[in-house]
Structure formats: C-alpha cells, structure tokens
Symmetry: C2
Subunit: 291 residues, 2 copies
C-alpha cells in the first residue's frame, strides 16, 4: 500500500492529462458526424433546370445574394418551327446518322481551321441549359504553338506518372484496347486545344460569391452540344480529362481560382492516316426501356 | 495521504477504463485521416475518353476484371466527309442558330409524338463518348398515362417539401424569376417522360462488378446530345433533376440498384400558350478566351 500511496500524486497527474486527452478526442469526434452525416433537413436547394454535381455551396457567404437577385423576369411567348411528321422523322434520322459518324480521334492533322468555325461551335456550346441559368463555363481556345507545347509538357509529365505509377493493372488493360498511352502528339499538332473550365462559383458586382448549382453537369451537357457542333462542322476531337493537371493548366492559362479544368479537347481535321479502335455501340434495346 | 491510499485501487480501475477509452478513440482517429485526406499517390486511374465524377471505384471487387478484358481491339482507318471552308462556316452557323432557338420549356402540349422519333433521338444520345467506352446510360421512356401520374405524384410530393422546407430563401428567389414551383403539370401532359439513369457500375457475365469511370459526366454529355437531337426534331423539353426522388422513381420503374436517376426530361411539342422567361445568353466574349 505504501508504494501506491507515494504514487497517488503521479496518478492524479496522469489522470488529469488523460481526462484532457479524452476531452480533446471527444470534441473531435463530436464534430465529425456533423460534417459526415447528412442533416435531417438538407439545405441543398432544389433545381429545375440542371443537375447534381459537386457544386460548392457556401450558404454563409451567399446571404446577401437575395438583395441582388434580378427579381421576377418577364415571360414571353415561345414557339418552334413546326415540321411535318415525315420531316421530323427524316431530321431525327439524319441527326442520328451524323452523330453516329462521330468517333474519338487521337490523330489530328496540323492543317489550319478558320477561327470563325471554332467561334461558332463555342457559341453553340454556350446555348446549353445550366442550373438557375448561371452559364458556368469558360472555353479557353489555345492556338498559340508555344502554349500548346507547354500544355503538352504538363499533360505528358503527369500522365506518364499516372500511367506508370498510379494506375491499377486493370485500368491499363482497359485502356490498352484503345491504344492509349501518355504520349499526346495531338497536343502539339491539333490547330486548336479547347480547355473547358467549370466555374464552381461566380461573383456578384459587390464581390460576393454566387453559387453555381450543378456546375459540373451543366458544363458536361454543354460539352455534349460542343461535340455535336464539331461533328456537324466536319471536325474531330477526343474528350480527355487530364488527371492532376488542372491546377497547373489553370495557372498557365491565368484562369481565376473559381475555375476548374473539366475537359481538354484537341480539335482539327483527322490526319490522313487516322485510325480508331474497332468498337461498336450498344443497340437501342440495350440503352432504352419503353414503359 | 490516507485518503489517497484507500482510493488508489479506485484510481487504478479508473485509469484502466480511461486507457481503454483512449485506445478506442485513438484507433478511430487513426482510421479517419486515411479516408478523409488524399493519399500521396492516388489510385484513381487516368482516363482519356471521359471525365471526373462520382464514379464508384471498388478496387477490391474489380480484381478479376483483368482476366475478362477484351484485350487489344484492332484499329481501323477513320475518315470524315470533308466540307469546303464555306460549307463548314455555313454548317456551323446553321447549327448554332438551331441550338440558339432551344429553350427550357415547361408548357408541353398533350399532342402525341411518333415513337420512331423518340427512338432516333435516343439513338443519337447513345453515340456519346464515355469513360473507357462503358456507355453507362439507361433511357427510360414513359408513355403510359398511369405511370406518368405516379411519377408526377412522387415528384410533386418531394418538391413541395423541398420548396417549402428545405430550400433557402435565396434559392426560392433565384427560381422565382423562372416562375418555377412544385406543380409539374407537364409530367402528366407531355406525351413522353425520358428518365435518364446513370449506371454507377456494370456487371461482367461472371457477375463481377465492372467500374464505370466518369459515369456522371459521360451521361451528362449524352444528355447534351439528346437535347440537340430533340431541338433538331422540333421537340421541346426542360432538363430537370428531381431532388430526393431518385430511389422512389428507380423502384417504380424497376431499375436495378446500380442505376441512379440523373435527369428527368418531359418531351413533346410546346403548348400553344407556352412562355419562357425573357433571359439572354452570355455573349461569346464572356464565355471564350482565345490564346
């Protein structure tokens, strides 16, 4: 008992430290569930014009937006050109045939393409719907040879690492059949590179942040229209998402912090010896269910 | 000291309990950082054909995919119809004008639309590029009146709650100018509802899961092409994302667990008294940067 008696001050001290540690841990684990689990009544708003993605919603910072809202916009009558049933059928067949001729092409000719055409396809992309009509896209068109080379250097450096170190064996095999690797000659040869940035938030004139709901899905829809416009104009591209290059490319192109690279599209004519993997598309019955 | 001496067995017991608690907490907090913070070498694969989203990657479950891979696919020559410069310019202008006539329309006529046309626009949507050519989309076309009513009931029930309870005042104001509320008459009147599901993973014949990289972005691109195809055929829609209805609608339509509702598009002719909010689109200079 004598040993215990002399040790008690030590025990007390240890006890105090332990209690302090427990309190600290307890506080931490109290915080966790709040960020991890969903609140019973989610504050995420409902949207009618667009779709779920990684929208950065900072309710606290947006409080003043209410006062700056454009208010009730007036409505105007809407009509479309009305085609006959035969015309509709013909147009829908023709459009499908046009789209079905599209392939992801990695062999792009250095032949120049008039800038007007690129401007028109980007205008078309800009007609896409977006969450609460925020139009959260920036299309950076790179024609400058030196900037293209710089982009190639950044992309190839990162993708060689991705290819050699980061990817699972499975993924390499998945891509092997597409004959894809980290050498991206098209980044130099294509007359244009279109880098599509999503604006994760916007800015009010007052300098306050404006939430861009569903920005990733909106920009992806816009990219779908861009692909259709390119194919319609007789140009090719390949939809790429260079991993880990976003921040470097954003800095190179001097884009602001609210913009994040979503896609990089090299654009031009197919080179004369262009090839594509012999893949087929799923038949209608595999992608459509009729109820 | 006598008091402390008699208390030491109690202290010892308390100490043991505290140590046990600390060890438990320590284990927990050891696990947390692994899931929260990014690993120095991310195992996320790099992809050349598509784009970042909430892909469900379960490396453990996919190990056997390697053996089942299709291997090296043969490549075939690729060419496109070559237009003159004047033709390219004309086509790109026409396509922009066509797309620019598109608006999100919430007033849809009950007038029937031939099924062939719907099939063609979905065929067109199915030509979109996708991560590693997984084609991770299912288009459920609902023409059945009873199913449409059931969908309307589910969507309106959830959206009334969203509108009244879950949304911030700011968001209500953001949508007010679009004259949007939770009553969705078009869900009954439109001849078709197209519900677009993203397949978060696929299945190998062996029953093993197949990773669908970038499925959300792929399906969104496909939706962009679908919107273009509908506009080209003379039909209207509005891109909606009914919040919180996904699981109920998935069950109603008997879709498998790997499918998640991304969008719901009511499709038809605009009603005679259709109106749209008087919004303008950003000019080219606001969406394009030329380098």
């Amino acid at each position: 008992m004598a040993i215990f008696s002399t040790l008690t001050p030590v025990f007390l001290a240890v006890l105090c430290i332990l209690i302090a540690i427990i309190f600290k841990n307890f506080k931490k684990s109290e915080k966790k569930p709040k960020t991890d689990s969903k609140p019973p009544v989610p504050s995420r708003p409902w949207v009618d014009e667009d779709l779920e993605d990684d929208t950065e919603i900072n309710p606290g910072e947006d409080d003043e937006e209410l006062a700056e809202s454009e208010g009730d916009v007036s409505h105007v009558p809407f009509s479309l050109p009305r085609y006959s049933e035969a015309e509709m059928l013909h147009r829908s067949q023709e459009f499908y045939a046009l789209m079905n001729g599209r392939r992801s092409v990695r062999f792009i000719s250095p032949e120049p393409v008039p800038r007007d055409i690129i401007e028109n396809v980007i205008r078309a992309a800009g007609t896409a719907p977006s969450g609460a009509h925020t139009e959260p896209w920036t299309f950076v068109v790179v024609a400058d040879a030196q900037t293209k080379s710089e982009i190639r250097r950044i992309v190839e450096e990162e993708e060689e690492i991705n290819y050699k170190l980061r990817m699972g064996e499975k993924w390499v095999t998945d891509l092997k059949r597409l004959r894809t690797n980290w050498v991206k000659e098209y980044l130099d040869t294509a007359p244009y590179l279109i880098l599509i940035f999503k604006q994760t938030y916007g800015m009010h004139p007052s300098g306050k942040k404006r939430t861009h709901y569903y920005n990733e899905i909106s920009v992806s829809i816009s990219c779908g229209i861009l692909l259709a416009a390119l194919q319609n104009a007789g140009l090719v591209t390949v939809t790429t998402t260079p991993l880990n290059c976003g921040p470097q490319l954003r800095q190179l192109l001097q884009r602001p912090l609210n913009e994040k690279l979503l896609m990089l599209l090299p654009v031009g004519f197919p080179s004369e010896d262009a090839t594509v993997p012999q893949l087929s598309r799923k038949p209608l019955d595999d992608i459509m269910v009729f109820v």
